[in-house]
Amino acid sequence: MLYHALMWSIGRIEQLAPDAAAVKAAQGVAKPNKWTGLGRNDAVLWGECAGSGANPYQVRVELESAAGKCTCPSRKLPCKHVLGLLMLMVGESVPSGSPPAYVQEWIEGRAKRAEAKVSRASAEERPPDPEAQARRAEKREARVEGGVQQLEAWLADIVAQGLAAVRAQPETFWSQMASRLVDAQAPGLARRVSSLSGLAVSGEHWQSRLLAAMARCQLLIDAYRRIDTLPPGLAAEVRTQIGWTQPQESLLAREGVRDRWHVLGHRQSQDERLRMQSTWLTGLASGRVALLLDFAVGNQPLPATFRIGQVFEAELIYFDGAPLLRALVKTRFESAPAIHTLPTAVDVSQLQSQFAALLAENPLLERWPVVLGPVTTLVDSSGTVLVDGAGRRVPVTANFHHGWLLAALAGGGTVSLFGQWDGEMFDPVSAEHEGRLFSLARIGELPVLSQVA
């Protein structure tokens, strides 16, 4: 099979689907007898599928980016035909061939559009009206300042009344403050406030957790007040945490970090409207870590560009912050053979020292990606604990359900884990055992360890 086609599996196709119904529908479509003119080459996959309309739908998919197009009227993206076509390919029912005209046109169209986008981005940008822009920016600063003041007064009020008193408050007590902060154009603060309501009812030691989160809000407010005195990286971090975004166009104009990047972990999460995909990378030459974030609203698909273990040459641009973590792919070059091991791991003592050093750089740091190992997994009714070679123990996050799976995988031995450390708990994302790499995946609600092939 060709290289890009190899990167596909049923699991990845399911990840790409907007919902479970689409997967089911796609399975119905993924039958060779429903298709004509099936074919693929190294980069693209195509075929015509008989539907309810008079003409068959023309379906094409670009393999590397998973971008697809179909002439069917479905509003789901990607539609069942695109998914079905990919399933056929995974089932090895699509022969190699050269693309027909409609595919060729689409490829050329895409190349043109991509070029246009790049030239738009790289063209010297002259703001249409610098004065208006400055006015807007000033207005936002003023609004945020108002929001910060409200939040500070609100926090102080809670401390005056006592946590015990606000615990009895309804959910709206927290959500109203969060919406005021959204209105004040400080979405980062709004997110922090929304998360407080959950902590207030989080069981034993809730006071401690709620107080810590409120204290961190205060720290952020104080940092924002003194932003002019902070080093530039930390200042950018503070602005990001308050809720300013860094425009990707201007970031893309910068010089990036070129390296061979190894994908260590991958995770999707969802809040009310937004689905977020995190992909963690490490540079094979530089040893740096990077986090790529993708967002999708509603039924929009998340790009299925990366797979755990994959290695590719690329130029990455870091967002401003301290320490640098979030990044963008500026240019992607060729892929290299996948690596099914995790990079050098730290033990618990190194994990703690390393995190302390990072806190010194940025006291607002919430979590940091790291490879921990080798560790033994201990599971009991109270949760999962990881034990390193020296016998030091760290707990994993409370909503972790893969404990028994890891214990079984290790078979009484040890594993290495890639995950996020927040100073108190470890949140595993992927695991390595004896040269085999596993992602901590789910089938519906069912936690599974899926070996990366």
């Binding site: 039958k31 005056a160 033994t376 028994w404 599974v448 899926s450």
Partner: protein, 520 residues
């Protein structure tokens, strides 16, 4: 978070500064740190909390503890199920074609594969307790290791670990029954002695359950007769009936001989007449109904009254029960005839229906294979007849499931060959009764039958989709896959048949892929 300062602050903030604030100078983690004097108590507390929080987060180091003692999992040489096959199992366990889970395990066992360690928890959590034993070969010894780590899976280990004798003495009822079956297979007489030791003290339900175990497991022999004969006097009816079932199957037992003696004057096949016209005269069955039921007959398990819904006289009912206990071979021996001749004579009597059912029951009890083959063809004829169709649909599955799997298929082939489309509907129950995969030939015949049925039913949707899906669970996948394409084409465009056939097709495809994943 811990520490004196932290708890001082937490307490103060929980109660609220309106109720009093702590000494603000005393709550900072280090004397070098303190808040400016001009701030409010609330802000000062929050800032001190932040400082303490970071102080601890950055400063605390976990102390080493004794490393945990975990026994390493036993290593295995067995071939492992592929990742993609295991992934499919997990999806099945979470609801996608859940009914095929047992087939998945039997295919994996056939391939001699075991489940990789990291999939074991998924299987142990997802399997029903009853399925675990049959999956044991694929779960492997490492599942027992895992069960020792997690109490929730402990029952996994209990049912297979230890000696049967220990489980017999200490186990739950299902475990004791399993232990009894194991011991009977190894040493029938020894197991019987064990059973007799505790027999008097077992509760009645348990006694009946153990007799059922004797019946269903290998090892039943004349050596058990004395014990069973004694059980005929048990206080509990369930126990007595279970003992009768066992004794029925011992043709040399006193119980069986008493039954034959009772039958001798009641059912007689006339002799072959000598002379010129003999070839035109058929042998006939002459029936005399028993006059009364004596005490011994009642003790031997002949019920006095038929169930309310059974349309049969009392005396005829007694006779049928006796026929149903006697080994069918008895008739051929006694009257020097073959099965067909005897059945022909039986069918000519007024009691044809009841006698055929009684003989069927006897054939099931004595696993009389030739009789089952012949009787099932007779029962097939009942399918077109409204009043007997129901009786046949109940008896035929029982008959077929009484012979070994390989012979079931042969019987079904004969049935399918002889069946015409209007008998089709009731034949379905037979298909569903067997739990083995059909042979290629049976599958082909079944689909040929289905094809005939589709033609007249073009506009009528009488076969529920589930029923075809149950076909799909038994059919030999490769053959069925070929047949179904032709059928779908035949079904015509806007037909409900087509929908049902397509969903049957996707089930077959699922099974086919599952098989490929496990066997190649």
């Amino acid at each position: 978070m811990s520490g004196d300062h932290w708890s001082t602050i937490t307490t103060a903030v929980t109660l609220g500064t309106q109720r009093g604030a702590p000494e603000l100078g005393q709550v900072w983690p280090s004397s070098e740190l303190s808040a400016p004097a001009d701030q409010s108590a609330e802000r000062a507390l929050l800032r001190a909390a932040a400082a303490n929080y970071l102080w601890q987060l950055a400063g605390v180091r976990f102390a080493p503890q004794n490393p945990p003692a975990i026994v390493p999992a036993p290593s295995t040489e067995s071939r492992q199920v592929s990742e993609i096959a295991a992934w499919r199992l997990a999806k099945m366990l979470s609801g996608d074609h859940r009914e095929l889970v047992s087939e998945w395990f039997s295919l994996a066992a056939r391939a001699g594969s075991v489940l990789p360690l990291h999939w074991l928890p998924v299987a142990l959590n997802g399997l029903h307790p009853g399925e675990r034993a049959s999956a044991a070969a694929v779960l492997g010894i490492r599942a027992q290791w895992l069960a020792q780590q997690n109490p929730a899976w402990a029952e996994m280990a209990v049912s297979t670990v230890g000696l049967p004798i220990d489980r017999w003495h200490n186990g739950t009822l299902p475990e004791r029954r399993a232990a009894l079956a194991t011991m009977r297979a190894a040493e029938p007489a020894g197991a019987l002695t064990l059973l007799q030791q505790s027999w008097q003290t077992e509760p009645p339900d348990v006694r009946a359950a153990f007799l059922e175990t004797l019946l269903s497991s290998p090892g039943l022999s004349d050596g058990d007769e004395a014990f069973l004969e004694a059980a005929l006097s048990d206080k509990r009816k369930d126990v007595r009936l279970a003992a009768v079932e066992c004794l029925c199957r011992l043709p040399r037992s006193a119980h069986a001989l008493r039954n034959i003696d009772r039958l001798r004057p009641l059912l007689v096949l006339t002799d072959v007449e000598k002379g010129l016209l003999s070839r035109f005269k058929k042998r006939q069955v002459e029936i005399t109904l028993p006059e009364s039921l004596d005490e011994q007959a009642a003790r031997d398990g002949i019920q006095a009254k038929p169930a309310a819904q059974q349309r049969i006289g009392e005396r005829a009912y007694w006779l049928m029960q006796m026929v149903a206990m006697a080994p069918p071979a008895h008739w051929c021996e006694r009257f020097q005839c073959d099965i067909d001749a005897f059945l022909k004579a039986v069918l000519a009597t007024d009691y044809a229906t009841d006698l055929i059912l009684a003989l069927s029951q006897a054939s099931v009890r004595h696993a009389a294979r030739e009789w089952i083959a012949t009787l099932s063809m007779e029962l097939l004829q009942w399918y077109g007849q409204s009043e007997r169709a129901f009786l046949a649909s109940q008896m035929l599955p029982t008959l077929i499931s009484a012979v070994p799997a390989a012979e079931q298929d042969a019987i079904m082939q004969r049935l399918f060959g002889a069946c015409d489309p209007h008998q089709f509907q009731l034949l379905e129950s037979v298909l569903v009764a067997t739990d083995v995969e059909w042979s290629a030939e049976t599958t082909r015949l079944a689909f040929a039958l289905l094809e005939k049925r589709i033609q007249p039913d073009r506009n009528q949707y009488t076969y529920p989709r589930q029923l075809l899906e149950r076909w799909g669970l038994r059919a030999q996948t490769e053959t069925a896959q070929r047949e179904i394409l032709r059928l779908i084409e035949r079904a015509g465009e806007p037909s409900p048949w087509k929908n049902a056939l397509e969903s049957l097709q996707s089930l077959l495809e699922f099974r086919l892929v599952m098989k490929q994943e496990l066997l190649t």
